[in-house]
């Protein structure tokens, strides 16, 4: 049976401010979904709520993974259940080596019942795997010895997120602007890598402003989010339309959602 991630009438607040106002979305493994929308529409918020960020308070609705509500699960339990998010601006963890961090992460995700202090996956096996993945991403082997996201360039950060995607092999991955801040070559490499790692295998929810990423990973569905709601869903031609023409038609067609969006856009969107 295929894995299904289903979001039902999800309302999410930060503090007392409601950002998502009833989002419905259903993804099946192997599908690629594009999530598009203007600034402040709630794209990152949806991703962070699915991942379980403590500041994002789900006030109503459900997130169902294969029929089970994961809203009460901690982020680490969601990760072990097969959810992943590549962050737009991942935080630095000084002093913690990429390899050490990833070995813990990979072990936990592969052995969801592992308790703290129990054995990690064997070093030899892990090294072999990370090396192969890093080569594919054209990353220098020195990278594994660097501290997590510490002093990384924008491109290195994004590649490090994709490396984690490759190692953790989630059922569902949210990619939050994994192509932003990269030059043309880097965008192509990122897009191709994501395609090789996840396209047609994982359920991918791709948040992007660019067309390159979707060119390599053509979406089965495109969702337009505005004012905290998905106002329209279409195929890959909808993504193409938005890339070519922007959001004017959407705003005109959904004036109420556009109004809500304008109000929340004036306050900066909180992103990780």
């Amino acid at each position: 049976m295929s894995d299904v991630l289903k979001i039902v009438d999800l309302h999410v607040s930060i503090g007392d401010k409601e950002i998502l106002r009833g989002v419905n979305l259903s993804m099946t493994e192997g599908e690629t979904h594009a999530l598009m929308g203007p600034n402040g529409s709630g794209k990152s918020t949806l991703g962070l709520a699915i991942m379980g960020h403590p500041n994002y308070n789900c006030t109503k609705g459900e997130i169902l993974l294969n029929g089970e509500n994961i809203l009460e699960l901690e982020p680490n339990e969601r990760a072990r259940a097969g959810i992943f998010m590549a962050f737009q601006r991942p935080v630095a963890i000084p002093g913690v080596k990429m390899a050490d961090f990833l070995r813990h992460a990979t072990t936990n995700v592969r052995n969801p019942d592992r308790k703290e202090g129990e054995d990690l996956i064997p070093m030899r096996e892990f090294r072999k795997e990370i090396k192969a993945n890093m080569e594919q991403l054209q990353m220098d082997s020195e990278f594994a010895r660097r501290y997590v996201n510490d002093g990384f360039s924008g491109g290195e950060m994004k590649r490090a997120e994709i490396l984690q995607l490759a190692m953790l092999q989630p059922k569902f991955a949210i990619l939050d602007e994994t192509d932003s801040g990269l030059d043309a070559d880097a965008v192509r490499l990122a897009s191709q890598s994501i395609n090789e790692i996840g396209h047609n295998k994982m359920g991918l929810l791709i948040i992007t402003h660019h067309d390159k990423l979707l060119e390599h990973n053509p979406p089965n569905f495109t969702h337009v989010i505005l004012g905290g709601r998905i106002v329209e869903t279409g195929g890959k031609e909808l993504a193409e339309e938005l890339h070519a023409e922007g959001y004017d038609r959407i705003r005109k067609q959904y004036p109420e959602a556009a109004k809500v969006n304008d109000e929340s856009e004036s306050e900066a969107e909180v992103v990780v």
Binding site: P75, N76, F84, P90, V91, I93, P94, A105, Q164
Partner: protein
């Protein structure tokens, strides 16, 4: 009793479990409690000391009695007359572990010292209460003229060398606890490294307090002659009692021209020990002195290792790690004094506070007149793990010269919610994520340690972290 209190007591006992055992021993001699001229004379008698040392002690006692308690640092709630100042555990120091009384040998076996000695040490001193009960030094080093004895032996066997420096780096008048140590000191290490000799593996001393209400006052003097190199490591533990014990050491280091000395401390005293220690080094021309000072245990630590850069080109580097948990106050820091031109000093301090612990950085960076073109940099970072814990920074800077470079950076951070979330989103539990962040925080210091000590340090941090997330 509330449940919360019970839980935290359990936590504490697991944290120090490995070190929290008492050995039943029969002392050869135990002085009565308290400190006065009679006790000081008694110590001098037992050690059969030359008159100059007896006079040095008696003089120091007067200074101790006349000096007020320090008005800064932590709260010291100690009755000086309720402490044993001298306890001689055995008649003689062993040259082999087989010479050491069985129960004391067991103690050090449990602490892993003989094993470490076999694997990677160039020499060992093990002090139990007031006396060094075991000592060794690799033969090739003694053949090269390296001296590594306890300080009492040095008084007898190397009086001229010792007298040239003893009490000269840290005079008895320096502070109340230096005066107390000078009056009742016993044990400690005496090291002399002849010119050009490079000791590749560390020399280690291990200090163990076993009795309740005990005072341990070791006295260490290290002389690194021109162009020589040494790394000295000390570890300290004690079992947990209901009443307090006192550890008050004096450590003097002389690093001559082009020489290099690294002094590493991993202090993991039980949480009822007052650890009030004075450590100071004089570094001469183009010499380098490094203090790596890890403070994890004790009730209160007040310790500020110092480097006085006496001649041009001298370097002082001080790395300080403090970890304070429930009922602990680490008032730790460092002192750099630039006395000559072209000297370079660095202080890096990292402190972690959790479960209501308090960590303070207290440091002095001083540039004397004439010390032109000296560079001094101080970085102190504090990490606070919860709302009950506290961190303070007391930086003192005195500059009496124009042409110098001085940098000071300080940061205080709470364990980052975003960092925790990031690691947890990759499948790490909250406890695992916190430990990883803390280990990362001190990594710049731990990576300076030899591998065996880095492993030990990480293990101690792990123990301190256990159960820290509710």
């Amino acid at each position: 009793m509330s449940t919360e209190l019970t839980e935290s007591q359990e936590l504490q006992s697991t944290e120090i479990n490995k070190y929290d055992f008492k050995t039943e021993t029969t002392a050869v001699f135990k002085a009565r409690k308290g400190v006065d001229a009679e006790i000081v004379n008694q110590i001098s008698d037992i050690k059969n000391e030359p008159d100059w040392m007896r006079q040095f002690r008696l003089e120091a006692l007067k200074i101790f009695e006349s000096k007020p308690m320090p008005e800064w640092g932590g709260d010291i709630d100690l009755d000086f007359q309720d402490i044993f100042y001298y306890l001689k555990p055995t008649t003689e120091q062993g040259k082999s572990w087989d010479d050491v009384p069985e129960e004391i040998k067991d103690t050090f076996e449990k602490l892993g010292i003989p094993e470490a000695e076999r694997k990677y040490l160039a020499g060992v001193k093990a002090q139990f209460e007031s006396e060094v009960i075991y000592g060794s030094l690799k033969k090739d080093l003694s053949d090269q003229g390296v001296l590594f004895t306890d300080t009492d032996t040095a008084v007898r066997e190397h009086p001229e060398l010792l007298r040239e420096y003893f009490g000269k780096i840290i005079p008895s008048t320096d502070n109340k606890f230096a005066a107390l140590n000078s009056a009742v000191w016993s044990g400690g290490s005496f090291i002399y490294v002849p010119p050009g000799v490079n000791i590749e593996f560390p020399l280690q001393a291990y200090f163990r307090i076993n009795e309740e209400n005990m005072g341990q006052f070791e006295r260490t003097l290290i002389i690194v002659d021109e162009g020589a190199q040494v790394h000295y490591v000390e570890g300290c533990t004690a079992p947990m009692y209901t009443s307090e014990s006192l550890h008050s050491a004096v450590v003097e280091v002389v690093v001559k021209k082009n020489a290099r000395c690294r002094y590493t401390t991993i202090q993991n005293w039980a949480n009822n020990i007052y650890n009030l220690v004075t450590k100071r080094a004089f570094a001469y021309q183009d010499a380098t002195m490094e203090w790596v000072d890890g403070n994890l245990g004790s009730k209160l630590t007040m310790k500020y290792p110092a480097v006085y850069m006496m001649e041009p080109g001298a370097r002082g580097e001080i790395l300080s790690i403090a970890f304070s948990s429930k009922g602990q106050h680490q008032d730790a820091g460092a002192k750099l004094v630039h006395c000559a031109p072209d000297t370079t000093g660095t202080i890096i301090s990292k402190s972690i506070s959790k479960n209501g612990g308090r960590s303070s950085y207290r440091g002095l960076a001083k540039v004397e007149k004439g010390a032109v073109n000296s560079k001094c940099s101080v970085v102190c970072d504090a990490l606070i793990l919860d709302d009950a814990s506290r961190s303070d920074t007391y930086p003192y800077i005195e500059i009496n010269e124009q042409d110098v470079s001085m940098g000071h950076e300080a940061s205080v951070s709470r364990i980052g919610e975003e960092q925790l979330f990031y690691l947890m989103s990759r499948g790490l539990s909250e406890a695992e994520a916190s430990t990883m962040i803390v280990n990362g925080f001190i990594e710049p210091l731990v990576k300076e340690l030899p591998m065996e000590y880095a492993v030990e340090m990480n293990r101690l941090i792990q123990l301190q972290m256990e159960g820290s997330v509710g």
